[in-house]
Symmetry: C2
Subunit: 265 residues, 2 copies
């Protein structure tokens, strides 16, 4: 059994130090095995240009993630944190660091499906959907980010790669994803945790309102915990990742082996 | 604008004439453009052996579908009706006839994903997921059957083939599909109609209780109409199939062209 938390807060656009301090403060206050933070929560969200995103982005091996890695190893906790990543190729990516106590397992996911003006600022992710296995804790974690929710293929790819738990750092500005997330959990028999942000940001003469509503679903598609739409909030639940692995539900049916990919478009 | 109905009733196992009479009676009472009936509603559901299914099955060109085809053409209505099909290959299939007023468009879908003891009785469907276009009514219809709901790939395949409306004749014995169906509608931006049955059947010392709850969802994932769990019921809604076709929702995003199949497992 593991404890899993989502953190919902309002990062400040363009002012990294207080955002990073908030992240450390949340971590210091939580004993959970796994803590999920929102998308782009070190920098804020609403970049307008690629130059602006590149200026704010930092290497996965940079100061912010290195400090969190040290904390992860020291506190023996897993963190998933959305950040603006400067790739080794010079591109800016909308990424999430999956920071594991064992540094060999730490990995970065780059958002596959870019939303709205993100495509003006970030390169489309090139990591694909992958799963990291922590054998000590006996959990396999896959990451998707925000608008990836819209594509059943994203969660499906993570589940087929073996995820027990899908985590989704987000900066969602609608609430319709609450229709899809329980289906993602149910159809793949996985836990699913969304850490969304709150607050507003303006840019290019436009205001974005982030809708909070962070939530965690069990592998049966039922909601386990949910935050409000506009308050800072930490959710914590207990999960048993091993319960997600038997995809059979009667003597005849298994939701993975019953798939017939040759029949799908 | 088209009218769409789902019919929820309790077919009698192994007694075709009254079931077929009920189907004709429902049709005669309805003026809807499209009428959806449950899975295997001419024969009942709970076959135990392949021999039993083959004995009850009839050709797509047989008496039952031919009579309904005449009615479809005469009344200018579209019917989707689950039936036990005897294939030209001698196999029994759990099929749905998509009966169009224009006989050239009439087609049969054979259930891709078999549930529970169905695999003892029926061959797995070999038609794949396809769409029939009625240019006069300006609607494109795709069919899936019951347990196909469990696989996001099924509805996705139909939507990518151009479906405005996915219909799902069913004999569902749980209610968890209500978690997934709104997501299927939303993630594909299509209408989705489930005609489920009610009643109980026994076979092999086991009782199955069919859970009714037939429902129709709009392309925004919101429910438009819902039947009760144990009553005979007809739902009728008005739909505008043309509204499903623009898959863009802002200047940057389109839920189909944003897909990145090369990144999916």
């Amino acid at each position: 059994m593991l404890t899993l938390s989502t953190v919902q807060f309002a990062p400040i656009f363009g002012d990294k130090p207080p955002n990073i301090n908030r992240i450390h403060d949340f971590i210091d206050s939580l004993q959970s095995d796994i803590i999920i933070f929102p998308e782009l929560c070190t920098t804020g969200y609403f970049f307008q240009t690629n130059e602006e995103a590149i200026a704010a982005a930092e290497l996965f091996s940079g100061e912010t993630i290195t400090a969190l890695q040290l904390k992860s190893t020291e506190r023996n906790q897993i963190y998933v944190i959305g950040f603006a990543e400067l790739g080794e190729d010079g591109n800016a990516y909308n990424s999430a660091a999956l920071i594991m106590p064992d540094t060999n397992l730490t990995a970065v996911y780059r958002k596959t499906h870019l939303f709205y003006k993100e495509s003006n600022c970030f390169a489309a992710g090139n990591t694909g959907f992958f799963v990291v296995e922590d054998t000590k804790r006996d959990v396999k974690i896959g990451v998707m980010i925000c608008y990836d929710w819209r594509f059943p293929e994203a969660a499906r790819s993570l589940a087929l790669a073996g995820a027990d738990l899908i985590v989704c750092p987000s900066n969602l500005v609608t609430d319709v994803w609450h229709i899809a997330m329980p289906a993602r959990a149910l159809e793949n028999k996985v836990y699913l945790a969304v850490a969304n942000r709150i607050g507003t940001e303006t840019g290019g003469g436009e205001e974005l309102v982030f809708k909070g509503d962070s939530a965690i679903w069990g592998y049966n598609g039922k909601i386990m915990a949910k935050s409000g739409v506009d308050e800072e909030s930490v959710l914590t639940v207990t999960i048993d990742p091993t319960q997600t692995r038997n995809k059979s539900f009667n003597a005849f049916n298994n939701i993975f082996t019953d798939r017939r990919p040759e029949m799908y478009k």
